[in-house]
Amino acid sequence: MPENDPIDELVRQSISHAPGAVPGLAGRVRLRAQSESATRRKARLAWVRAAVSVAAAAAVIVFVVLYVDFTPPAKPETASGNEAPKPASNRAPAPLPANQPRKPAPETAPEAPEGLPPAEQDTPAPQPEPESQPEPEPQPQPKGEVVEKPQPETEPKPEAPPAQPPTEAPKAAERVVLAVVPPGARLNVMQGGNWREAKEGDEIAGGTPLQARRGYVDLQLGGGELLRFDGQITPSLHEGALLIELAEKSLYADNLGLSRRLLVRCNGIEGACAGASVFTAVRGGMKAACLEGEVRIDGEAVQRGTERRATDRGVRVASEYKPDALVTGAPARVIARYEMDGNTDLYNEGERLEDGVAVSDSKPWYIGFRHAPTLAVLPGMRVRMRWRCTGADRIDLEQFLADDTLFKVVFKPEKDGAWLVSEFKLSEVPARDNAGRRLQAGELLRNFKLHHNGTRLELDWVEFVRVQD
């Protein structure tokens, strides 16, 4: 084979011009090496501990074999060696034969819990007393759930005091409703170990496994998080965070701007989201993609527009993430919704409520209301409203910031006298005094106004939503 073929030089040049390793590679190798060293040390320690435990146990066994007298009490004289004869009952380590029927003690003295060898009690520690009920029952009669029947089991259960009245059922774990099944959701919920079809309006309690029956399931939780999944998840609350166990396929989660932490666990890997992200179950681990905000997987940050995969071998370098239908088809997440039903903080400067809608048909010719003081602009935020106007050719949608800066968009009704749903991207609404300025993420919204120049304006609802672009 020719050593100096000109093609080789061409190949050499082309490959040498390709970029080499990513800048952080050496650091990651070092981190993994350190982590492996620590694991090895721990494993060695565990072995040492196990060896010590085995040696100690062996020593105890040897001691017992050599020095403990197993002679039955009926034959104390058979004890031999230099040990003084002792009552066997004081040292016998063997528990009572489990299958031997236990006779009730005729005395009223407290009885040891079932299965516990009486001779083993070297300290008279206060024990739960199953027989300390007020009713003196010398006969071994069944007492429902309180008194256990003699069972052929050897496990002593002194930790089960019959402190609760027999009629009181064990207190169920606190039930937290996380969401309500929305209309059209093709969702199964786990109940009593079986999947059952969820109905619209069903409450979804924390810890309930959920399974998409077909396609995607969209859920907006009471805490405001939007979840969309096509596999199986189990949402629950854990130390103040929303914890989602991802069992299969993918989960899109959006909690941008919310204070409650969102954690996702899958195959022993944990991810955290304070934004919008996609978590995908993969063999032996999980992938996390960041669409907005801060996303981490296995403690490592995932940059916006990228995804990283984590397994027990570590976290891989990021690669570009291309959203699929899980993200592109996700519904809008409702941030704030204002129904004109008396709960909205209206200006009351001319508008009035009428049959569930706000009406303006006189001066000052607008409908206005105030936001909660914490409502901030988020990336991808939009305002939607259902409205109807008569005799107007101009509508002014005004949004004030907390610092009084006014952002405003002017438009013309498409149809006179018809109910319309309109939507505007907040990022496209310009400031009144500076057309180049747009609403920025993080700015606090204060109040909303809708002006008209017609004879009547009606507003059914307004909502501020976030759409992942």
Binding site: I7, L25, A26
Partner: protein
Amino acid sequence: MIDTDDMLVARLAHGDLGALDTIVSRHQDALVRITRVVTGNDALANDAAQEAFVRLWRNPQAFVGGTLRAWLITVARNVALNELRAARRRTARHDRAATRPASDPALKVAGADRLAQVRAFIDTLPEAERTALVLFAVEGMSQHEIARVLATSEGAVKQAVLSARKKIRERFGDSP
């Protein structure tokens, strides 16, 4: 005095992280470039290179003679190929079409410089051919070493290199 690879590997056995750092900085670029040729994927190439270094750290005794770079390339290539196969299985259902190689990569990169075109063309060669050629032409490995990396015979290596050269020559001519 500069430590040889053998000396550094010996230090790894004593848990010397500094030796690992030196090995990584010495071989990472070459390893990633070669693995990229194997996989055609940046992220996968970096991951596989990382895995090769970690495996060396985990078990330095596994390196028994030969050149360290060849050993690292062998491990990284195996890791990358395994991962590539697994990834293809996972994605086959969804984007089978997307994973198909372009019919004419040279046209695809039209307008790019000639070296990029050559690189793109190399990516379309069979894995054994492109790896053998790059190991031979870029890394300067002997046929014997390449045969060990690819777990094949020296004759097969020779055939692969000649075939790859021929295809490149047909596409780009003789001049570098």
